[in-house]
Symmetry: D2
Subunit: 305 residues, 4 copies
């Protein structure tokens, strides 16, 4: 950990001065209120040491990063048949997504694009009695963190402008790959995306993907080693929308971004790391977050390749 | 190595009896002559120990696997500006490829789809005096293997039916991203794909991607550590056409397939492995090759994730 | 009229014996109940003579034929600015429709594909106090036919399975080209499509497109001559989905089909004709309806070309 | 004719003063040399009266207008089986063309987009001994005009930059829908497009599409009445690329444009008209040509609708 600390601090100081050419996500009205110059970093190693700099203890909207949690829960409950409902292939550029959904008869390309995350929510709805409550409890259990909560305002804000997601969900329903009521699926989806955490909490909650032998405080496994590796693989190939290849190329770690400006990255058997900086590049990923991780893996030679 | 041997032999024996639902590639007339029940496996570790079973010493047409070699050579000669000519993103399903090429104004999505490999050939043509000879010499040097050669019949066979590649090359030329004469680019491309090697030779020639400190017999580096890692990253996200995600998910190693039925896979810091079985699944990758590698990484827990 | 009668009767008798390779539309549950061997034909000339054979007095669901009526009403109320909201170009094959809508930033290609008809409904909602009632009154006025009504069962039936239309309407809304509430637009749309008429009524209600000097019983014009000609032009280029070119080629008249199996065709300055036969060809147009009209225009040399 | 003359002269004078927001086609080097302010108009009625204003006797490159002539010749030689090789549907917006060609397995959407015109040329090559000479003789015969000739410079100029057409032709060949040598098809195609005529000659050569009873000076029919009507139908639905619907909507006549700035329009049973003005709108059709024809058909009420 010690050598990580110095490197993290150095890059943090460098980055403070770098001009941020990104733009804050403003299509969700509530997200537009966040101060654009927040910058937080946190690393947690598999022996549970944690270190953070900057705004690493401020909560933010984790948005699509939550899709790893819903995927994990659905995989745990549904097992391998999950992959009959959603594929594990990168999706090419975004403007093809509806076309591909049509060609693939309603089976989304992967669980991290919106269509796939909606199907994952639908799978969860079929398993859970009280979906929103049960999902929150699952998150609390794996992180041993009881302070997690949805941001109701963000969920409503997203619902008020989420016509594309309504379109997507109905489109998939027309192929029969949404089993529950469309409104229920969307409400669940918007709530999951509204989860709030800070960098430190995020780097802790995803340790189960870094540590092959991770157990909860109650001594339970979240996923088998094989299942965790598979989720890492899907993150590497599909975690950054149309920039997944670029992230693998420049950073070399499995990871996932959210439009709130957060990125988490996993080094199997070593650590989980979070960076948060709200301004996004044109592909929708945190501009400084990408930059930080590239510098970090270069200086520490910690790519998985 | 000793524990790998036993596992390889066991899976090999298993696979001999598995029914092969694949189909041999017959769109290139010359390739259709290969005996479909060939099955060869070879592993070479970074300390240069090598072990093979089955038809691991029979030469076959490596086809698209050669795209790693041309990419390596172009990256070495052109450096980072190479990525202005070709991107590093997975391409989504194949029927979008021309559409994407149009949307991306002639910049191929990655160097392993045909459009990208053609641009890589064009880059090489701009650097080399005698392209076909120089490329062969480069391959001989990195592998310390003087027996390498093109199969002229295969090259001509592919040229005789290669209308799609002619279309692709002219299409990219119309955007200005092919600088040399289209016929020269295609001739070079068809020759590169006609290279013949056996499993053992293949698992040796790609050691420079597994070993961070690899040097040729003359003591020269092929690529920097960082460059090699980047090529591994591109192989992981783009090496298996529309099945790249599936390969990462099931096998968990960077790799590359060819329509001749060969697959190579890299475990960074450990080994390079080749499997050859000519019958292809519907995505164009060796059916038994995929199966072998999935079983192997599961039994040896050697995924990079 | 006399020579038309004989020709119509002859073709009608011929067609009765032709094997119908079409299939009844069954995606709308309520439509699947119609007897598949219905066959009705009616012609009304601009001097208001009318002649019918077969099931020309049985009511059926006119479905997309109603899109001419909603377009007419919206054009009358909105004038030329209507064409800023919806284009007049044929749409190519259907699987591109969402892609094109994305490329065209939510402006549908024409008013006869579903996306365009939804925008037309949205325009009407912005003008009308009681949309469903007002639209019905408009139809009654232009046809001098007080018996027109929606089929509530069909409207509900379509709503229960209309996920694609819900998707489409939300998708367009995401581009800002739907101004009213999505549910209201869809409810109005499904009602319009549920209108029921028989062949005779249909061939009478569209006389305003055949007769340059048409006025209602109250002496009012529906559209200017120029406007009527433009609607005819849009019918010719876009009235038969992905078979519009084929219809122009084989039949040579402006027309419009519906999935209920009806087709209307206009010969400017001469007549309006309706054919009804519920079984559809693979492009979604009445199999025998197309056949009848081809034979009719060939025998009477009444193509507009 | 007399009332046409006055109207034509009036619109001509109006148009001289209208600012031309179009742009001359410069992708074919040789075409860029044409003076942009040329403006010529000619009408020929079916009783062979002809009237022209402005630059109606200057020759220009008719480009895609020649596709009507090659289609006519191929239809005459091949008959109805021609339509198994090329469809008659409008093509939607241009950037889908390759995608559609792939989805339709190499069958072009219509004979007026480049892919379709290439297939028509291929059909002609299969029938003709000396294609270029035979085609020119055919054109001379139907027009009774012995002065027709190819512009070799324009043909070569187009060949030197025609990578897209080379791509297209090879792509179709890969589906088996080009039977002859690709280079021969392209050479023939580029020559056909290089034909030069003036407005007067153009309005005379296409009289066979306006006059149901047209015969050559030797008393021969070019096409049957039914065949001629069908070509008119295809012109109406497909003659103006992605602006075909707009032309039908605004002008209301079958017609065909070329990137040289020419447009011909047919009024069945009445006349054939040519307008030439080299600057093109963004859809690739003559800006003033479209404007002239819209004004003309409005003032003369000569739309076919």
């Amino acid at each position: 950990m010690e050598n990580y600390k110095k490197i993290i601090e150095d890059i943090y100081l460098d980055l403070k001065d770098v001009e941020d050419t990104g733009k804050i996500a403003d299509y969700i009205p509530e997200l537009a209120f966040v101060a654009p110059d927040n910058l937080g970093i946190n690393i947690t190693t598999i022996n549970k040491e944690s270190f953070g700099v900057g705004d690493f203890e401020k909560k933010f909207s984790i948005q699509s990063i939550a899709k790893i949690l819903s995927l994990t829960f659905a995989y745990k409950l549904e097992g391998e048949p999950l992959w009959k409902r959603v594929d594990v292939e990168p999706s090419g550029n975004p403007f093809n997504s509806l076309l591909q959904l049509e060609a693939d008869l309603g089976k989304p390309r992967n669980p991290f694009i919106n269509s796939g995350a909606l199907v994952v929510c639908d799978v969860l709805l079929s398993h859970l009695e009280n979906p929103k409550e049960d999902f929150l409890n699952f998150c609390k259990e794996i992180s041993n963190n009881t302070s997690l909560s949805y941001n109701e305002k963000v969920a409503q804000s997203e619902k008020s402008v989420g016509f594309r997601n309504v379109a997507l969900c109905n489109f998939i329903k027309s192929f029969g790959n949404i089993k529950n009521n469309v409104d229920d699926v969307l409400d669940f989806y918007f709530h999951i995306c509204s989860l709030e955490m800070n960098c430190k909490e995020l780097s802790q909650i995803f340790l189960y993907l870094a540590d092959d032998f991770y157990t909860t405080v109650k001594g339970k496994r979240i996923l088998t080693m094989n299942e965790a590796k598979r989720i890492n693989a899907v993150m590497l190939t599909c975690g950054f929308y149309d920039e997944s290849g670029e992230f693998a190329f420049r950073v070399g770690l499995p990871g996932k971004s959210g439009v709130g400006g957060g990125i988490i990255a996993i080094h199997p058997d070593k650590f989980c790391m979070t960076v948060w900086s709200p301004k996004l590049n044109e592909k929708g990923n945190s501009y400084k977050g990408m930059l930080f991780l590239e510098k970090f893996t270069t200086k520490t030679a910690s790519s998985i390749f």
